[in-house]
Amino acid sequence: MSETYDFLFKFLVIGSAGAGKSCLLHQFIESKFKQDSNHTIGVEFGSRVVSVAGKTVKLQIWDTAGQERFRSVTRSYYRGAAGALLVYDITSRETYNALTNWLTDARTLASPNIIIILCGNKKDLDADREVTFLEASRFAQENELMFLETSALTGENVEEGFLKCARTILNKIDSGELDPERMGSGIQYGDASLRQLRQPRGAPAHIKQQCNC
């Protein structure tokens, strides 16, 4: 029957075209690199149930198109997101320069409490690097973002990026900074707490669950 989780978080993946957003999501959900990736049209969707800090959390992830022509469509998905992965390509200064715009969008259109993690993708292409780690981490600090360099190709830090974001949200719920009952928080309770016993509780993070809800 319906799947079990303690919380549901709504996540966004944003950033310029070609930064590797869809590949990040694909790697996170399928643990595979997506070879023949086309430009995303509009907004794609994925979900996975993960275990964070002893809680089962379902991540409902909206992967947006980076192309300018879809900008107004993708913006309409921002509202009520609890977390976002802001992605740029370390081999493309262009995608890095656009970060400020993406950040403004996210802060104004999504919930003001949105937790954002900055992901410098294509870490595997260090030879072609155009954005240094130091520079980006300074940017992250100034803008109160978490920061990671990731590789959708090798899978390095991909899981960590999503989980870090989820963990931060959980902490804020525990500390009372975030209220899941508030509308538009991007967080929902599941009914897992009502079901325990008998069922081996949502076995570790490696069971991938792709569902249609």
Binding site: M1, S2, A17, G18, A19, G20, C23, F33, Q35, D36, S37, N38, H39, I41, G42, V43, E44, F45, Q60, W62, Q67, E68, R69, F70, S72, V73, R75, S76, Y77, R79, G80, D89, T91, S92, E94, K122, D124, L125, D128, A152, L153, M183, Q188, Y189, G190, D191, S193, L194, R195, L197, R198, Q199, N212, C213
Partner: protein, 912 residues
């Protein structure tokens, strides 16, 4: 001798005793016979007699008999014969004797609630823990039937109230499932395990929910029963929803608030029946105003998430579309119910209410916003494609993108640089240009074809939400505005994929203003699909369309007199209500038994014949003798307009119930029903000679002929010739070469329409009571004829026999042979289309093809040769029933071209 006398005396006294008591007085020797003597006495608790009989007999009180091998003690316990029971026990009957199914007398006493018997059995040390073959003990039996009083007595003797049957069920399970409140309380007070799972992991709460036992679920929950799924993960809430048990769901939610969200999420589950979910949510929403708001707001949120998923191209279109529409349907249903408290009944928020009813739509605004943005996006894609289809930049960038794709494909596997398709360009070109090049990659055409279905389904959901806030029959201004705003994109969708209209654009049928925008696309769709759409909507919202069979109420039967079919039908129909007649028609002829579909069919048949009966003067025959149209002089009958309205009702009803009528109308009258303007060719059916004259005027230059026609006609009005102007001041306007077309149109309208306008209006008024004008518009006049009167039978042999050939063809000609082979192979529908194509009528005249009429008298079906050029279609001259058949090179080509011509012709596109 003496012994003989003595024996006789004993027998005599036995006989008199027996006669006096009206029963046997001594038990037969063998147990089997004896037990059947005793059984009725035990059943009636005649303990004295039993006692007397048993006194001196050797009868074994534990003798088991019958199919189930019960003892008399079983019988006594079963029937509550307490005195006999005591007697038997005293005589040594075994209280723990088990019958063939393992039941003891105690089980039977418990099952049937024989309190005293149970008490006595317990005194005699009956074992309360014995299980029958299914593992049921006495306590289970008490629980099944809710015998709380007996249970109180029994539990004191029971060592384990949680004794399990073969399925691991305790008495508590059983009592919960059957909803026995006091029994459940008693068991719980006696220490029953409230969370005990049976073999499949089902708890008492699970059992209560599986049967919608609200009260026992309530007791369990208030005593802190845990909410546990069974071993398959099925939860109590799942069970409640499957069964549509709203009250029980409500109780679950009261105790476990988070189940509310789970319940809302369940609307996405395709396995659950929508009607059950709707029932449950309906109940939950009606608990309080705040619950109503909460239910709807949450549903709106789920709908929005689903809508967004549907717009996500990698999701399953079918599944997400169904899910979205289901949620929105449930949402609208619950919304329409209104909040539970009546004083807020229709408050849309204007009375200072802090949480206006319409507030619940708010979460969906996100989805509508995305929808709007999507359509704007597509509109700009269309513009861009339209603006520079031939400009140099477009093809080159397309090529560039193709190359890019190829490059990626070839080295994607080997090189690690392929993770970004854009990075090849990004270092070479300036930033804004990067965007340009990448944009061309996913090209506009693609986006449209990939998203149109999904967007259309969201539009359908949007329409549903808009209309549920409106009074029935009104289209929301917001929605109309929406369609107008995105007119171009929506038209582009349906032009590319007309199925969208039938699948998602139902709003068109409810809003004529919007319908007219899409009419030309709709008319181009196959007749069958339009038919399905027509009936789907005609019958949608019929109150009982889920019920298979409704018993006919005697009062609703239309009782028709055969000798006055017309009048009695008219009377019966006017007495009934439209709603009843829509639900179903039941007809009985006076003095006859018959009822059912056959009689209904006959009624329509007979009645339609009566409607055109010349005695009533309502309809007149046209020149061809088989079609009818309203009689312009019908006013001789003062009630004529009422009768026209009735005729319209009958036709409407027939169409509504898919019954055929036995009337064929003139082409022009079908056009009147459809609201299509008539043209001069339609005159041919009522006055072929005059039609020819009109045709002549059109075909020839009339400038120098001195016809001296004016825009007026002379008409016979009650015996006097009167000049009627065709337009204001028409008597003074000459018909010239320039305005002759207008003249022909006006004169046609006068003959065909103005003369019978009141009759047409009355007819339509009746017709539209059952068939909304917006729906009938889906068809053209040929199709309407098929819908009303059905497909005629066509005898191909007769057709072939009465066909003539001209301009080079004869029967031996291969092309002609092929033609007939093709006709033989056609479906009945296609044959009719062919006949319509050539003769303009779908009917074979009475008597067969030999009587086929042309513009002037008999005119046989004729096939004429035409030189073949590639792709040439057959044509026809309907007034002389001639098919102009090109000399096709093969039978296949002939068939193909012929069908194309018939299909297009019957849609009215290429009428010759």
């Amino acid at each position: 001798m003496e012994r003989a006398m003595e024996q006789l005396n004993v027998q005599l006294s036995r006989l008199t005793r027996s006669l006096r008591r009206a029963r046997t007085v001594e038990l037969p020797e063998d147990n089997e016979t004896a037990v059947y003597t005793l059984m009725p006495m035990v059943m009636a608790d005649q303990h004295r007699s039993v006692s007397e009989l048993l006194l001196n007999s050797k009868f074994d009180v534990n003798y088991a008999f019958g199919r189930v091998k019960r003892s008399l003690l079983h019988i006594a316990a079963n029937c509550g014969s307490v005195e006999c029971l005591i007697l038997l026990l005293k005589r040594g009957a075994n209280p723990n004797y088990q019958d063939i199914s393992g039941c003891t007398p105690l089980h039977l006493a418990a099952r049937n609630g024989q309190k005293k018997c149970m008490g006595r059995l317990l005194e005699y040390n009956a074992d309360v823990n014995i299980c029958n073959n299914e593992g049921l003990t006495a306590i289970h039996w008490l629980a099944v039937n809710g015998r709380t009083e007996l249970l109180h007595d029994l539990v004191q003797h029971v060592t384990n109230v949680d004794v399990e049957d073969a399925m691991g069920q305790t008495a508590l399970h059983v009592a919960c499932q059957n909803g026995h409140k006091t029994t459940v309380l008693c068991l719980l007070d006696s220490g029953a395990d409230i969370n005990r799972p049976n073999v499949s992991g089902a708890t008492p709460l699970y059992f209560a929910c599986s049967h919608g036992q609200r009260d026992t679920a309530q007791i369990l929950l208030s005593r802190a029963a845990k909410y546990l799924p069974d071993r398959n993960g099925v939860t109590p809430l799942d069970l409640c929803v499957q069964g549509g048990y709203g009250e029980t769901c409500e109780i679950l939610i009261q105790h476990h608030n988070r189940l509310f969200q789970t319940l809302i999420q369940m609307t996405q589950n395709d396995d659950l029946k929508e009607s059950m979910l709707r029932q449950v949510l309906e109940h939950v929403s009606q608990q309080s105003d705040s619950q109503y708001q909460r239910t709807l707001t949450s549903l709106a949120e789920v709908a929005t998430t689903n809508g967004h998923k549907l717009l996500s191209l990698s999701s399953s279109f079918e599944a997400q579309m169904k899910s979205l529409l289901r949620i929105v349907r449930i949402f609208c249903h619950v919304f329409r119910l209104g909040p539970s408290s009546p004083n807020n009944g229709n408050d849309m928020g204007y009375n200072g209410n802090k949480t206006p009813r319409s507030q619940v739509f708010k979460p969906m605004e996100l989805l509508w916003h995305s929808l709007d943005e999507w359509l704007v996006l597509i509109s700009s894609e269309l513009d861009r494609n339209g603006r520079n289809p031939s400009s140099a930049s477009s093809p080159s960038s397309e090529i560039a993108s193709l190359l890019l794709k190829q490059r990626e494909a070839s080295d994607g596997a080997a090189s690690t640089t392929s993770s970004s398709p854009a990075d090849a360009d990004s270092d070479a070109v300036d930033p804004p240009v990067v965007m340009e090049t990448t944009e061309a990659y996913g090209d506009g055409e693609d986006v449209i074809s990939m998203t149109s279905n999904r967007l259309s389904a969201v539009i359908q959901a949007f329409y549903m939400c808009c209309s549920c806030q409106m009074p029935p029959g009104m289209t929301s201004p917001r929605f109309i505005e929406f369609v107008c705003k995105h007119d171009e994109v929506l038209k582009c969708f349906v032009t590319r994929n007309p199925k969208i209209i039938f699948n998602h654009f139902h709003f068109l049928l409810e809003c004529p203003e919007l319908m007219s925008r899409f009419m030309f696309i709709i008319k181009g769709q196959p007749f069958k699909e339009r038919c399905e759409w027509f009936y789907e909507h005609l019958l949608a919202g019929r109150p009982d369309n889920e019920m298979v069979h409704r018993p006919v109420n005697e009062n609703d039967i239309l009782l028709i007199h055969r000798d006055s079919v017309f009048r009695s039908s008219c009377e019966m129909v006017s007495k009934s209500t439209n709603e009843k007649l829509k639900q179903g028609i039941a007809v009985r002829f006076h003095g006859e038994e018959g009822m059912g579909q056959g009689v209904v069919r006959e009624w329509f048949d007979v009645l339609s014949n009566e409607i055109i009966n010349p005695d009533y003067g309502l309809f007149t025959q046209s020149a061809d003798g088989t079609t009818f149209q309203p009689n312009s002089n019908s006013s001789v009958n003062p009630d004529h307009l009422n009768y026209f309205s009735f005729a319209g009702q009958v036709l409407g009803l027939a169409l509504y119930h898919r019954q055929l009528v036995n009337i064929y109308f003139t082409r022009s009258f079908y056009k009147h029903i459809l609201g299509i303007p008539v043209n001069y060719q339609d005159v041919a059916s009522i006055d072929p000679e005059y039609a020819k004259n009109l045709q002549w005027i059109l075909d020839n230059d009339i400038s120098d002929l001195g016809l001296e026609l004016t825009f007026s006609v002379e008409t016979d009005v009650f015996g006097a010739m009167e000049e009627v102007p065709l337009k204001p001041g028409g008597t003074g306007i000459l018909v010239t070469q320039d305005n002759k077309a207008e003249y022909v149109q006006l004169v046609t309208e006068l003959r065909m329409t103005r003369a019978i306008q009141p009759q047409i209006n009355a007819f339509l008024q009746g017709f539209h009571t059952y068939i909304p004008p917006s729906l009938i518009q889906l068809f053209d006049e040929y199709e309407l004829e098929l819908l009303l009167s059905g497909l005629p039978e066509i005898d191909v042999q007769d057709w072939k026999k009465n066909t003539e050939y001209t301009s080079g063809y004869d029967l031996q000609e291969p092309v002609v042979q092929w033609f007939w082979n093709v006709v033989e192979s056609l479906t009945q529908e296609d044959r009719v289309l062919l006949l319509q194509f050539v003769t303009g009528s779908s009917r074979v005249p009475h008597g067969g093809f030999a009587y086929l009429m042309g513009g002037s008298g008999l005119q046989k079906f004729t096939i004429a040769a035409v030189p073949y050029t590639s792709n040439l279609l057959p044509t026809s001259s309907t007034c002389i029933n001639m098919l102009k058949l090109p000399e096709y090179p093969s039978q296949e080509v002939l068939k193909d071209r012929l069908l194309v011509a018939c299909h297009c012709g019957s849609y009215g596109y290429t009428m010759a």
